[in-house]
């Protein structure tokens, strides 16, 4: 919870029409056959990752900004962050 998240500097966030995507610049982050597609909440979490905020801060901000059960929102953020870290799109410091 107190870990800090940092974006992989070799990943570019883009909004294409109504879609949010992450475009890897280097081959170690992508297979070249697929693209990372975020929903709106995922895009908002991505924007909040700045290399300074703790994960717990991001969870609190999401809980403030979104309606829903707090534990569920926390689980959703954790799950999303875990996915991104596994895909090497962010670093957990």
């Amino acid at each position: 919870m107190h870990t800090i998240l940092r974006k992989n500097e070799h990943v570019v966030f883009r909004k294409i029409d109504d879609e949010y995507i992450l475009v890897p610049l280097v081959s170690s982050v992508a297979d070249g056959e697929s693209i990372f597609n975020l929903n709106e909440t995922g895009a908002i979490i991505w924007e909040k990752i700045d290399g300074k905020k703790k994960l717990t801060d991001i969870v609190k901000e999401i809980q403030r900004e979104y309606e829903g059960e707090e534990q569920q929102l926390e689980n959703d953020v954790f799950s999303f962050v875990h996915e991104m870290a596994t895909a090497n799109l962010i670093e957990v410091l």
Binding site: S34, N37, N39
Partner: protein, 358 residues
């Protein structure tokens, strides 16, 4: 988060039922200069043309253009030419485009692919590299390229790219000079593990020039069909295409009925932006107009024009097979109201020869 294959992602961003205009596909011709002198080329000019070199977009103009395209939602960026690797600022442009998040296709003749190019493309992979291969033998290739030693350089370029693991596709223009080697080129590509495609439809030059005279190398419609039939997968693709698109006549009076200016934007080496490369007489300079205005107003006005003349094609159910369009008419005849017999003859020959269309 979803990891979507591009095929699936593309169905989301190119909805077939949408009237929305987003320039998802941007094509940027970085130069018309080329170190080859291909006989069939519609745009090449000599490498030594210093006047042309001075008129090309500068590095900072290209950078500004890329900023504009990214802000308007362009995703796929084709860097082509002429020979784009001739630009001394290619690396700077390429890296800038990568860092803006474009998915880059690079079209090159392969002859200038050196260690530094491979290092760049390996570290920051393009979406795809496509190299044009004009012959399976040195003799044939260089009859097309008209440059001694270019075949060996092209093959070396291909091998360097293949060995580095960069995604590579090979392609060729099929013409009178090399039609007998298309099949062998396909086999060479298979040995390198690359896809290969060829196009037998040769376009006239966009601007008159002594440098090439493409139409004299066009295949006869019969030879085009013969080549089609040489490749079972090509015939399968034609059958699928015909099942889906043949039998419909043009349903409206729009002059341009394709994706030009809807999802496509093209910018030539001098900064003229238009709906597609073939719209030779249209274009708005990014040096004198804001790019967003060009897209939202200028190109929209070009593609919104109504067709105010009658062509036999208007009631032809092979319309989709032939590819007749206003831009083709202008390039072929300089006259928007004339049909392109070259395309028409090939379509009719295909209709007669493809069993599934009879």
């Amino acid at each position: 988060m979803k990891t979507l294959p591009f095929v699936e992602f593309n169905t989301r961003i190119y909805p077939s039922n949408s009237n929305k205009r987003v320039p998802l596909d941007a094509t940027l011709e970085l130069t018309y200069r080329c170190n080859n002198k291909c006989v069939h080329c519609y745009c090449n000019i000599p490498i030594s043309d210093q006047q042309d070199n001075r008129e090309e977009l500068t590095t900072s103009e290209v950078i500004r253009l890329l900023d504009g395209l990214a802000s308007m939602g362009s995703l796929y960026l084709l860097l082509t030419g002429g020979e784009p690797l001739l630009r001394t600022d290619f690396k700077e442009i390429y890296l800038y485009a990568k860092r803006k998040g474009f998915l880059i296709a690079l079209f090159t003749n392969g002859t200038l692919v050196d260690d530094k190019t491979v290092e760049l493309l390996s570290k920051y992979p393009p979406f795809v590299v496509e190299i044009s291969l004009y012959g399976a033998t040195e003799e044939t290739y260089e009859k097309v390229s008209r440059v001694k030693g270019s075949y060996e350089k092209c093959i070396n370029g291909i091998i360097r790219i293949v060995d580095s693991g960069i995604k590579l596709k090979l392609k060729s223009m099929a013409m009178t000079i090399n039609q007998h080697e298309i099949e062998t080129m396909d086999k060479m590509a298979q040995q390198w593990g690359c896809e290969f495609r060829f196009d037998p439809i040769i376009t006239k030059r966009l601007e008159n020039s002594y440098f090439s005279n493409p139409e004299q190398y066009r295949l006869s419609p019969e030879d085009v069909v013969q080549l089609d039939k040489t490749f079972p997968k090509r015939m399968e693709a034609w059958q699928k295409f015909c099942d889906k698109f043949i039998g419909y006549t043009p349903s409206d009076d729009r002059l341009y009925k394709c994706g030009a200016g809807i999802t496509m934007i093209h910018i030539n080496p001098y900064g003229f932006a238009k709906g597609c490369m073939m719209m030779a007489k249209d274009g708005f300079s990014i040096r004198t107009h804001n790019l967003r205005w060009i897209w939202e107003e200028g190109i929209l006005s070009s593609i919104s024009r109504k067709k105010e003349f009658i062509l036999p094609c208007d009631t032809c159910n092979l319309f989709n097979l032939c590819g007749q369009c206003a831009a083709w008419s202008i390039v072929e005849h300089g006259d928007i109201a004339k049909k392109v017999d070259y395309l028409c003859d090939i379509a009719k020959t295909r209709q007669k020869s493809f069993g599934f269309l009879v």
